[in-house]
């Protein structure tokens, strides 16, 4: 079955929290397909998503897709639940979705968008520099005019899936202090990458290049437009990471439920001990609120014609990240020693939630963001 064909593009999405058969079906299909795959690499995962018609479904409504951040988040949720850290989040949910909203902005962007929409190309975004938080302005990465040409000095850290990416989106600051968004093809950066793995298995890389010559094609946006584009991608990424975190939390809650029902000590299953029953229900409560807020975050992104309501996204992020720490710690505790063994999947979820929680700063940061 092809999802894009199933979706009535004219209708758009139902209001949030309205149970919807199409979305449910979509969730089930993606979840089942990913569940069948197990720990696969990205090419296998993207082949499955492609077969489901997912990349078409992610197109804007004007082009026959479902388009919304909510749909992208739904996929992220399922990826998170399946324990998969994939480039989908940055490449399709954040960058692809953004490019589709500014369709027709030039041949280079259209070329990149086409590759992403086919599920063949992969793009990533360099968000972190020296600071622990991703930079949103005053980048250390500098774009300079040298005679007739542009040159860029890049210093970026922890670029996710950099070694796999065909395109690298690089936020930079010009000599006049304005923001600029630069894109590089893989030939321009791949040799200079210093790759390593993150604690959740995500491949990442640092990148320092001095005096890289650029052509006009490399420079996508300047000033306010660049700012707006970065904000848009960042907000979507926040919503997508929230969705992934909720998926991973759900997997941990499910694993804990199953384990409490199975593990026997003192002649009874652990789920007979009232102390643990209450603790488990507290996990469900935390998860439920996080699910609500993750959904709200992607709705906020969909809603934001003039940019998402960032205060709202930050509130959602606060709740989700707080929940991620709580659920991962509680699930680990209730499993006892076996949860710490790397042969069991629990530890991988624990680390995934840690990475998701720290990408944009912890929950304190989500609160402080609005006071800065």
């Amino acid at each position: 079955m092809n999802l894009a064909a199933e979706i009535d593009a004219g209708d758009g999405l139902p209001v949030l929290f309205e149970p919807d058969d199409t979305l449910d079906m979509f969730k089930d299909m993606v979840g089942r397909a990913l569940g069948d795959l197990g720990q696969a690499d990205w090419s296998a995962i993207s082949a499955v998503l492609k077969e489901l018609g997912l990349f078409e479904a992610l197109l804007p409504a004007s082009r026959g897709g479902y388009g919304g951040a909510r749909l992208a988040s739904l996929v992220c949720d399922r990826l998170g639940e399946a324990g998969l850290a994939t480039p989908f989040t940055v490449s399709w949910a954040a960058i692809g979705r953004f490019l589709n909203t500014i369709e027709g902005s030039g041949p280079r962007l259209d070329e990149i968008a086409a590759g992403l929409n086919e599920g063949s190309a992969l793009a990533t975004l360099a968000m972190h520099e020296t600071d622990a938080l991703p930079a949103s302005r005053d980048f250390e990465t500098r774009l300079r005019h040298v005679g007739e040409r542009w040159e860029i000095d890049i210093c970026k850290r922890m670029i996710p899936f950099a070694a796999q990416a065909d395109w690298l989106f690089v936020p930079a600051t010009t000599e006049s202090g304005a923001a600029a968004l630069v894109v590089l093809g893989r030939d321009a950066f791949s040799d200079a990458l210093r790759p390593y793995d993150l604690i959740d298995g995500t491949p990442a890389a640092d990148l320092d290049i001095t005096g890289l010559a650029l052509s006009d094609e490399n420079i996508l946006l300047f000033g306010k437009e660049a700012d707006a584009a970065l904000r848009e991608m960042r907000n979507m990424l926040c919503a997508a990471l929230c969705a992934e975190a909720v998926g991973a939390m759900r997997a941990m809650v499910t694993a804990t439920r199953d384990y409490l029902g199975m593990r026997r000590q003192f002649g009874q299953v652990l789920s007979d001990f009232q102390a643990l029953r209450h603790r488990f229900i507290d996990m469900e409560i935390v998860l439920t609120k996080a699910e609500t807020m993750a959904a709200l975050a992607s709705a906020a992104v969909d809603n934001g014609a003039g940019g998402a309501d960032e205060a709202l996204v930050d509130k959602c992020r606060y709740i989700v990240i707080r929940s991620a720490w709580a659920v991962s710690q509680e699930a680990m505790q209730m499993h006892g020693a076996i949860g710490m063994a790397s042969e069991t999947p629990l530890g991988a979820y624990f680390k995934r939630l840690l990475a998701l929680s720290l990408w944009f700063g912890d929950e304190d940061e989500a609160l402080l963001a609005q006071t800065r």
Binding site: D131, A132, G267, S342, F350, R372
Partner: protein
């Protein structure tokens, strides 16, 4: 200016205790090898060689078996002196001495072992000629330890041991393991348990690594297949192992402090926060972080001082049902909180993965790895849920 209340407040320590602290501090400063200290100050875990080196240095001074009474070659420290000793050593970056030998099997041998066992094992434990590990837990027996199944059958002058232990810390580095084994299935299950000392080189023992989520090889599975253990390796009587294990719990009830380690990690936390930038300024100046750090310091002070209070109470014979479980709970939780805040301080900079025991050529604080590793503290040594059950039973009946 002392950095912590426990360093020098006059109301907290006697003059003798204060001068004892100075003596220990000076000794550690002069004798702890710098490469070991810098390793631990960088967040790395010590290896067997580091622990050996430090144990031998302390042994020369007569302090290796610092928790033992004089009659067995210990220095006969009071509980508060032991606290001070651990505090000074850990804060200077000294590795923890092997607890399985010094603090677990040795007191059992002292109390229930025969003369030959005392003469043979105790000096070897003190010098770390033998590195011990603890074989209690089994796949089916964690919190409910008395259900253990590893079987030992007496045949002539030896036991034949078959079964499996699991989560065994350091078995891969150890020479000996002390085990609780089942010698009878009759009657009350606690009465069929026996305490055996087993040489890990015995034929029939297989040790398999368990890698934990932080990527470290710290714990193991230990399999026993027809392992022959001379009957003289049994401590005390057959079927009394549970009593001995319980004695150990009670004897060492106030062992789980780790306050010196906490203070060392707190200092590391501050260093991490000072060097990491968040939103354009050092994390140490970030209002959100500052609040958490202040709260943590208050919390650590409360735990540390409660620890000291319990030691004084117990030394004065005022034991109660709360002390041991409460100390285990609050000490383990504060250790976790510190490692969590270290990870939060580094934020995204904590995420590059660098498991303990693998070479690293970049500066790395091991904060996230240690945060993952420290989840163990509320699980092992009687999980915190079990501690709450014990405390509740003691108070509510």
């Amino acid at each position: 200016m002392p950095q912590f209340a426990s360093d020098g407040m006059r109301a907290l320590f006697t003059a003798e205790e204060m001068s004892f602290r100075q003596e220990v501090r000076a000794f550690v400063a002069a004798n702890l090898p710098a490469e070991i200290a810098s390793k631990l100050m960088g967040g790395l875990h010590p290896g067997r060689a580091d622990v050996e080196t430090w144990t031998r240095i302390l042994h020369e001074r007569g302090w290796a078996a610092y928790s033992w009474p004089e009659e067995y070659g210990g220095p006969g420290f009071s509980p508060v002196e032991r606290y001070i000793f651990e505090d000074e050593c850990a804060r200077a970056g000294a590795p923890e001495l092997v607890p399985f030998g010094l603090k677990m099997v040795a007191p059992v041998i002292m109390k229930y072992g025969d003369d030959r066992q005392k003469a043979h094992y105790l000096p070897r434990i003190a010098r770390l000629d033998d590195f011990w590990c603890q074989g209690y837990s089994e796949p089916g027996s964690g919190s409910d330890l008395a259900s253990l199944k590893t079987r030992a059958v007496l045949e002539g002058d030896r036991y034949i041991v078959d079964g499996q232990k699991v989560w065994t810390t350091s078995a891969h580095e150890a020479d000996w393991i002390f085990c609780l084994v089942r010698t009878s299935k009759e009657g009350k299950r606690q009465n069929g348990i026996t305490f055996l000392l087993i040489d890990l080189k015995s034929p029939g023992i297989t040790i398999r690594p368990i890698i934990t989520l932080d990527g470290k090889h710290e714990i193991n599975e230990v399999w026993f297949e027809g392992v022959e253990v001379p009957v003289e390796n049994r401590v005390g009587e057959e079927g009394k192992g549970w009593t001995y294990a319980k004695y150990l719990l009670e004897h060492e009830r106030l062992n789980f402090g780790g306050m010196g380690f906490c203070k060392r990690e707190l200092a590391r936390l501050k260093a991490m926060a000072a060097e990491t930038m968040r939103g354009g300024r050092p994390v140490l100046d970030d209002p959100g972080f500052k609040l958490r750090l202040e709260a943590l310091e208050a919390e650590l002070l409360a735990v540390d001082m409660t620890n000291l209070r319990f030691l004084r109470e117990v030394a004065a014979g005022r034991e109660n049902a709360l002390q041991a479980p409460v100390l285990k709970i609050i000490s383990s939780e504060i250790q976790q909180t510190i490692s969590e805040l270290q990870t939060r301080a580094l934020g995204s900079r904590a995420l590059a993965f660098n498991p303990q025991g693998t070479a690293s050529n970049t500066p790395h604080h091991y904060a996230a790895e240690n945060y993952c590793n420290m989840r163990k503290t509320t699980i092992y040594a009687g999980s915190n849920e079990i501690q709450r059950n014990i405390a509740a039973k003691g108070i509510l009946g």
